[in-house]
Symmetry: C2
DNA sequence: CCATACTTTCAGTAATTTCTGAAAGGTAGG
DNA sequence: CCTACCTTTCAGAAATTACTGAAAGTATGG
């Protein structure tokens, strides 16, 4: 009974989901995330159900290998979860449901992978330009002073950003809402 | 006189700058910015001086065409500026000096290019799933309800984020410092 | 400890992105 | 309106990144 009535609805649902998935994939690309990975996450998020690798590969028209690798990467980012069912061998995957939590995970991971190494490099650069490394008089040279100043500003900016992100992460869902309210009131 | 003393210093300065440039280029890639574009910006930022296209291409070992295209893209992002000198034909380029301002520009541009289109798509998806589009009973189907709920959460999240960014942008340098202090005190 | 039912890996290939260099396009001064 | 000097464009080449599919790996129930 349900099927006869539901068919056009399911079609429409599918269309809407596909639209979202495609757009999300495009956005991912411009943020350095490969399109398929973004699409898989969009799919799991939008259907709001656990899906097997087979269902994912069929729905997105991708190979088994591709699905497997990207599902694993998404698990490593912590934004989808593996999901065993007793009495079944097949594994299912589902997206975290809370958007705030999803973005916390992404921010935390990006900080660790990308901000931290840059901070380390800046520290190294500053060491290379210390008086002890290039001589006392030399450190006063205009070009050196300029570069040191720029390194300092960037370091300060990134340290402050990191602290802010730390707060976000530490406080996850309720914290984020709180932060936002504060921000909006502050101006 | 200066040159004899300064030579090793300049070498060391160059090394430190190159280290920063290379790392910044790597980070750019993982954020969806091509390496050369990130490197050019890193160079202009770190030397804190206007450079000509020729100087850029020589320093980074890239072709004239590549330099030209990426310098133009950076200008479009608003994070470097063209710089004519009276009595000279050659153009010079320099980075914005304020890190907070640089990131404001980047955030504003990304919002416009990437967040806004996604928001538009979400609105479209929700329309496709309204009662008027699929029938009153159908709208109650579990799968439809779930997807609508997810679309709604994502839209809310992005709208709030956009508002926050708006504030950042509108307030630029002093505003950002203010925001940060508030945030850090809030917990 | 085998058969089954899945998952992961990875070498080769396809698709995409980025870069080059030469030609065409400005433009300012003469 | 030329010449000298720079900048931009873009077709083709190079480099990078993503994907496939088949073989190898793993775990579970009998």
């Amino acid at each position: 009974m349900t099927t006869e009535i539901a068919e056009p609805v399911n079609q429409q649902l599918r269309l809407a989901q596909d639209l979202f998935i495609r757009r999300w994939g495009e956005m991912g690309q411009t943020w350095g995330i490969n399109r398929t990975m973004a699409e898989i996450h969009a799919l799991l998020y939008i259907v709001a159900l656990p899906l097997s690798a087979d269902e994912v590969m069929e729905r997105l028209n991708i190979s088994r290998g591709n699905a497997s690798m990207n599902l694993r990467a998404l698990c490593e980012w912590g934004i989808i979860r593996r999901n065993h069912r007793r009495g079944e061998r097949r594994e299912y995957f589902e997206s975290l449901s809370d958007v705030w939590e999803i973005f916390s995970m992404i921010i935390a991971e990006r900080k660790r992978r990308e901000m931290d190494p840059v901070l380390e490099t800046i520290r190294q650069c500053r060491e290379m330009l210390e008086e002890s490394a290039i001589g006392k008089g030399a450190a006063k040279e205009e070009a050196v002073r300029m570069t040191r100043q720029r390194l300092g500003s960037m370091e300060e900016f990134m340290l402050v950003s990191n602290k802010v992100f730390q707060q976000f992460i530490g406080n996850a869902r309720s914290g984020l809402h709180k932060v936002v309210k504060l921000l909006l009131k502050a101006f």
